[in-house]
Assembly symmetry: C2
Amino acid sequence: MKPVTLKEIAEILGISITTVSKALKDYPDVSKKTKRLVKETAATLNYKPNAFAVNLRTRESKTIGIIIPEVVHHFFSSVIKGIIAQAEKKGYLVIILQSNESFELEKKQIDLLLSKRVDGILMSLANGTVNFNHLNEIIETDTPLVLFDKIAKVVKCSKVIIDDRKAAYTATKHLIDIGCKKIAHFRGPLLPQNSIDRFLGYKQALTDHNRPYDPSLVYICNCSDKSFDEGKESAQKLLKDHNDVDGIFINTDLVAIGALTEFNKQGIKVPDDIAVVGFSNWFMSSVISPTLSTIDQPGYDMGKTSFKLLYKEIKQRKKKEPVTFKTVELPTELVVRESSTKSITVEN
Amino acid sequence: MKPVTLKEIAEILGISITTVSKALKDYPDVSKKTKRLVKETAATLNYKPNAFAVNLRTRESKTIGIIIPEVVHHFFSSVIKGIIAQAEKKGYLVIILQSNESFELEKKQIDLLLSKRVDGILMSLANGTVNFNHLNEIIETDTPLVLFDKIAKVVKCSKVIIDDRKAAYTATKHLIDIGCKKIAHFRGPLLPQNSIDRFLGYKQALTDHNRPYDPSLVYICNCSDKSFDEGKESAQKLLKDHNDVDGIFINTDLVAIGALTEFNKQGIKVPDDIAVVGFSNWFMSSVISPTLSTIDQPGYDMGKTSFKLLYKEIKQRKKKEPVTFKTVELPTELVVRESSTKSITVEN
DNA sequence: ATACAAATCGAAAACGTTTTCGTAAAATCG
DNA sequence: CGATTTTACGAAAACGTTTTCGATTTGTAT
């Protein structure tokens, strides 16, 4: 019934708790014979060390926390998968918290994780995050922190990102290359750096190729759980405001899919009338009609890399080595699909 | 730097650790004055109780574990979200593990959670799970266990399920109702009860409505991460083997979407030539073309309900009350979309 | 004044480990 | 055989909290 303890094993074998503990951990000052004995009885009794006691003593929880804006999201669930897979290899358990894009929740959850004494924290910031005191609080407690995707540049910690600006530039340039004359942009919320960068990439691509930047061609979507509907609405507005737009670069796939749906409904031909490029490469994008061109964002790899960075830092702190912060930039890729292959579709 | 402890607060205030502890927890035998004093200094020092010490003492981790086959999956990520939301309300943290549909991994992960002394475990079984000794091991340690969706009927614990058989019956009956004469079924793997039940519901609906059951119309898909491709392949086979099938009930949406894609490619009209009904109601199903009829499976609610059941059991054990196992059946709903609205589409 | 109750506090044990340090026994060596 | 090293073990402290129970002080009633 009650879990087996070192004490019980010690009593059964008539030796001390110390020796039992040492035997299980292969200390050199325990004879082979007692080691064997201890290990055998431990196995038959199904002994499992009490994690609390171990943690209390060693100040290591072998647990990390992760805070993300939203679990039900293809990109983030891929990241989670990458993190869990990597963490498990190193014997770490993962506690997952969800900020729901709320700054207040994010703060609370950090407190929760800190009081749980997790060995490290992995975070992707909420859109509503306006300052970074709570992140600095983490750093002050000497808890390793790695930010990924939605990061804060000013916070002193390791980061894993993609180059949103470059990717957006590539996507927009692609629209230019296939002959789009007037390119709109459905951007994300105003705050997070990602949507700012994607917007900047879009703008840069335009100006680099002698396209005038027209603010009225930029529509804002909050990219909440209503992304799909936002895409539809923005598409409606766009069609009303500008009947000569022939290309759109959209901040995220789900919004793009909403837009596509609206275009389909209104009989707008994609890509012939309007070419569309999304962002993130949700699985969905490869199965809708027309299939959606997009920027592939390596979620699984990002999770994997983030944990690796965190793990390295945990080890460094343990050995009292100086910790080095790194910013890893993962490559993205333009995935060209039907929604932006004008020439071919036109030829048919 | 180092986290603040009760001892430090005690020393600052010149009182005992005991009193500090009691003051913070509002024990009646501490004067209001010292309570105020203690709480103030605790707040300014940003004191956070050491979870390990508390856990070690109280034998409560305020943490639960959840094991699911796959994180990157609309249904399961919805469940996770439901669980996390509910758990957070009650002050519980959630550790997530992923079995990748492997029996061996599942066993290992249970061990991990048990040695972490989680207060309870929530599980959805892997397809590869062939026996349930590992589940009984959980029960033997007196750790509350709740199974959801992919359950084992014989295990003595609370469960949260849907009636797969009934839902499948409804889906198949719907195909019959819209006039399908020859209805095929793409079923899931052979082992898990869910795909068996869905198959049985399909079969039952046929025989109840004087349709002969024809085993050659049943195709097996493993529903792994290759679901989409499996759907395409099965669709190809079906078209080759039976050119007169006019309806399919498919074990899960992703496979159905694969099939739809293949049908689109081969110029088969859905629903006119073949009507299709899926299962699970992935978000994707509402945006593809044609939109996919399906059975809505309430993931978020399932997560919520599962945690509630687990929480109740945790409380019961704590109070040494007798634990009562409950099986909650959540309602499902047939969502009719374009892929199975023959009449209307035909009329147009 | 005495007796007694109420209010307030603290000592100490316990939770189950890990690890340092000391010691006894056995083995080695001259 | 005595001296020294090696081998094997255990006592005890520590991690930070909770809680029992006893002690002390203060207040109240006789």
